[in-house]
Symmetry: C2
Subunit: 430 residues, 2 copies
C-alpha cells in the first residue's frame, strides 16, 4: 500500500502524503476549495488554494461532488481548530469517479427512504459511529469470555426442532427433511458445557414474528454463555461482570463516537457491579404501589419493564419468575418450586430486556415431566435428555441480545440502526 | 464460585482444593483408586488411598463410572510424572450423578455411531483439542483484522437474491416473499467497504449441495474481509499475512492440543510469508508436465489442487484464472482481459482451497454487461450497481473457510470433526 489512512496522518506531520477516500462535503470560494475527505478511518479537511496548485488541479477539486471518490496528495499540517487536529495543504487532486446526484443529501430524509438506501446510508458519520460501537461491543464480549476461559463453540443454525415452540420459526427443506432456523443455541451449548465446562456461542438467530416494535428484529445476533456447575448466583455474577466490562470498554475506546451520537455518557459510567436485584414478587408489588395492577403469574410487558427499570441508574435484575411463564428447561427454586431460578436483565432508560438467563434442570425425571407438560416431542429431545443421564450437573447460562445492547449503549430510539442490514417485518432489501 | 479449575491447580500446590468435573477414567486396586478427573479446562489424576480416607469416601470413589459427575476435594501435590505436573491426594469424593452405561467406551466406534452421539462425543480429549484450536483460529483471525483497523460488519443471512446462482440455496418464506440463506456476505461487504474502508464479516453460510466429500459441509463458517482501494496485489498480501498470523498463533497457544492430535508441527512452522504464487497458465503447464492433461479454460478439481499444492511446503496462490470459470463480479486483468484478477489459496498437504478472493469490478458499464452475460436479474442488483454510480473505487476481498482451515491446521482427514455440530448431506441431528 502506497497511501496513508486519515487516522494515521498525525504521525506524518510536515510530510507529504496521499489519501484515498471520498468527498464528504465541500465549501468553495473563488480562491479556495475546502474539501472534507473521509476514508472510513476518519475525516480530514483538505485546503486547495488557487495560488498554490495548477489550474487543472484547482478545477479537479471544483469538479468533486458529494461522495465522489478521490485521491488527494499534500502536506499534513497541525491545526488546533481541525476536528482531528490536522489538515491537508493539497498539492494534487485525482478524481477516481465523479458521483452524480447522490441520493442522500444533507437535508432530512424519511426512514423508509433511508432504509431503501441502507447500502449508501452506511456512509454517514452517524452510521459509522454506531457500527464502530457495535464492533467494539462484540469484541469486548468475546475478549471477556475468552479471557475467562470460556471456549467458543458455534452452535448450528439449521436445526431439526425448536427450542421454544414452532410458531415463530423460519422453515426450510433440508434434503428429505424439514429444518428450522435456530432461535437459540442453548440446548447445544449445554452439551458443550458438559464437555468443556465453560462455553459460549455467538451468532445470528431468527424469529419469524409479525411484530413491528422498536425493539424487535427478525434476524438478530445473540451471545449465549453456558457453564457447568454454575448455579443461579454464579450466573447473575457473570452477567453483571460481562455487561459492565462491555460498557466500560466502549466508554474507553469509543468516546468520540459516543460524543458524535450525543450520548449522555454519565448514564454509562454508572454501569458498574453490583446491579440491583428484585424478585418477580417484589416487582409486582412495586408496580401495584405505582398504580399498575398486575396479577401474580402475568408476564411483564415493555411499559412494565420501563417503569421498573426507571427506578435505578444501572441495569436491573428481575429474578425468580413463575415457572409457568418461562421455558420448560428452567430449574425450580428449591424453597418455592412454583418459581424458576431465572432472571431477566433490564437495561436502564427504557431499553428493556437485554438478557434472559436461568439455571437449567439437571434432573432427568423432572425434565421428562416438563417436556410432557409442554407437549414437546420426546424423541426430538433424546440427545438433550442424555445430558441428564450421563454425568448431569447443575448448570446455567443466558442469552444477551446484541442489537438491544447496541441501541442502549448508543442511546438510539430504534434497533433498526444497530445492525448493518436490518431484517424487519416486510423488509428484506437491500 | 467456591471451587478450583484444573488448569489453575498449579497455583495451589500444597493447598486443599475442591474440583468439580467428570470421571474420565479409573484404575483401582484393593488399596487405591486412581481417578482421572476432567473439568473442561484439563485433566488431573486423583489418588484415593484406603488408608487415608473414610470407608464411605473410598466406596464413593469406587462407585464412580465413566462420565459420572463428581466433586473431589484434596491436596494438590507436584508430580513430575503427571501430565499437567500435578496430582490430587484425595480426601473427599462427592458423586453428583452416577452415569450408567455411557455409550462411548474407550473401544473403537464407527463414525456414524459417533456422529449420532455427537453431543457426548464432544467430551473426548481429541474433540476438546480440535474445538480449542478452532476457537483459537477464530479469535486469531478476529484479532488480526481488528488490530489492522478492519471494522466488523455483520452481513445478513436472510437475503432476497443469490450471490452466485440459486441452485444450491436454501429457501424459506419471509412473510410474503421468498428468502434465501446467504452463501456469502461479499456484496453487502462491498457497500460497507465504501463506507468504512476496511471491513469484514464473520458468520455462518449455507450451501445446499448434494455432495458428500471430506471437504464439504452444508453449514460452514466463513470470514470475508473487503477493502476499498485494495487492488489484487494488496489482496494477496493481506491473505498471506492473515493466514500466517493465524497458524503461528495456534502454534504458540495450542501446542499441547496439536501434540495430542499428533500433528507434525514442522509443517505448520513453515507457514510464513511470502507464499509461492503461480498463475493459472503456469498451473496448467505444471499439470501437463506431470502427465495430467488439462484444457485451458477448465477449472481445477481436488486432485489437481493436491498435485499442485504438494510441490510446495506452504500455502500456494494460484492467480488469474480465466474469467469464464469465475464469478461475474471479478475485475479483468488489464493486460489480458480474458483473465480475472483473482486467486485461490491452496493449503499444503492435500487440504485444498481455503481462500477464494478477487479484485471486484468497479466500472458500472462493465458490471452491467456481466450481469447480463450471466443472466442475473438487474433489479435485484440495483443497490449493488449503486456502489459503481456513487464514488466507485477499485476494491478487493476474499473469503476464508474456517472448517477447512481447522482441518488443515489440526491435520484431520475430514471436515466433520472441525465444527461442534456438523450439518452434512442427510445429517441434521443432533
Amino acid at each position: 500500500m502506497d497511501w496513508t489512512y486519515i487516522s494515521e496522518v498525525g504521525s506524518h506531520e510536515g510530510q507529504d502524503v496521499t489519501l484515498k477516500g471520498w468527498l464528504y462535503n465541500k465549501r468553495s470560494s473563488g480562491k479556495l476549495h475546502f474539501l472534507l475527505i473521509r476514508d472510513g478511518t476518519g475525516v480530514i479537511q483538505g485546503v486547495v488554494s488557487r495560488a498554490d496548485v495548477s489550474p487543472e488541479t484547482f478545477d479537479a477539486a471544483g469538479s468533486l461532488t458529494q461522495e465522489s471518490s478521490v485521491e488527494v496528495s499534500g502536506r499534513v499540517r497541525a491545526d488546533a481548530r481541525a476536528p482531528g487536529g490536522y489538515e491537508l495543504a493539497v498539492a494534487e487532486v485525482k478524481p477516481v469517479q465523479i458521483a452524480h446526484d447522490y441520493p442522500i443529501s444533507p437535508k432530512e430524509h424519511g426512514v423508509d427512504f433511508l432504509m431503501d438506501h441502507r447500502h449508501l446510508w452506511l456512509r454517514s458519520s452517524r452510521q459509522h459511529a454506531i457500527l464502530r460501537i457495535r464492533a467494539t461491543i462484540i469484541s469486548a464480549i468475546r475478549s471477556y469470555l475468552d479471557d475467562h476461559r470460556f471456549t467458543l463453540v458455534d452452535s448450528p443454525i439449521l436445526t431439526p426442532s425448536a427450542c421454544e415452540g414452532t410458531t415463530t420459526l423460519f422453515e426450510t427443506t433440508y434434503f428429505d427433511e424439514k429444518a428450522y432456523l435456530s432461535q437459540s443455541g442453548q440446548l447445544y451449548l449445554e452439551s458443550a458445557a458438559m464437555a468443556l465446562g465453560k462455553v459460549y456461542c455467538f451468532g445470528p438467530a431468527f424469529r419469524a414474528e409479525k411484530s413491528k416494535t422498536r425493539r424487535h428484529l427478525i434476524e438478530f445476533w445473540i451471545v449465549e454463555p453456558e457453564a457447568a456447575y454454575f448455579e443461579h448466583e454464579d450466573n447473575l455474577r457473570l452477567q453483571e461482570a460481562l455487561v459492565s466490562h462491555t460498557v466500560q470498554t466502549v466508554l474507553r475506546e469509543r468516546r468520540r463516537e459516543l460524543d458524535l451520537l450525543e450520548r449522555d455518557v454519565s448514564k454509562l459510567e454508572a454501569v458498574q457491579p453490583p446491579f440491583p436485584r428484585i424478585t418477580y414478587d417484589r416487582a409486582i408489588e412495586i408496580l401495584r404501589e405505582r398504580g399498575i395492577e398486575r396479577t401474580w403469574g402475568d408476564d411483564f410487558g415493555a411499559p412494565d419493564e420501563t417503569a421498573l427499570a426507571n427506578l435505578y441508574d444501572r441495569p436491573l435484575f428481575i429474578e425468580k419468575y413463575p415457572s409457568k411463564v418461562k421455558a420448560f428447561y428452567m430449574q425450580p427454586d428449591p424453597s418455592r418450586p412454583e418459581l424458576a431460578l431465572c432472571d431477566d436483565l433490564l437495561a436502564p432508560e427504557g431499553y428493556g430486556e437485554i438478557i434472559g438467563g436461568s439455571q437449567r434442570i439437571h434432573d432427568l425425571e423432572l425434565l421428562e415431566r416438563r417436556l410432557d407438560e409442554h407437549q414437546l416431542p420426546r424423541e426430538a429431545y433424546e440427545w438433550y435428555l442424555d445430558l441428564r443421564r450421563y454425568g448431569s450437573v447443575p448448570h446455567s447460562g443466558f442469552g444477551l441480545g446484541i442489537e438491544r445492547t447496541v441501541a442502549w449503549v448508543c442511546g438510539l430510539e430504534h434497533v433498526r440502526e444497530t445492525i448493518p442490514f436490518p431484517r424487519m417485518l416486510y423488509r428484506l432489501y437491500p
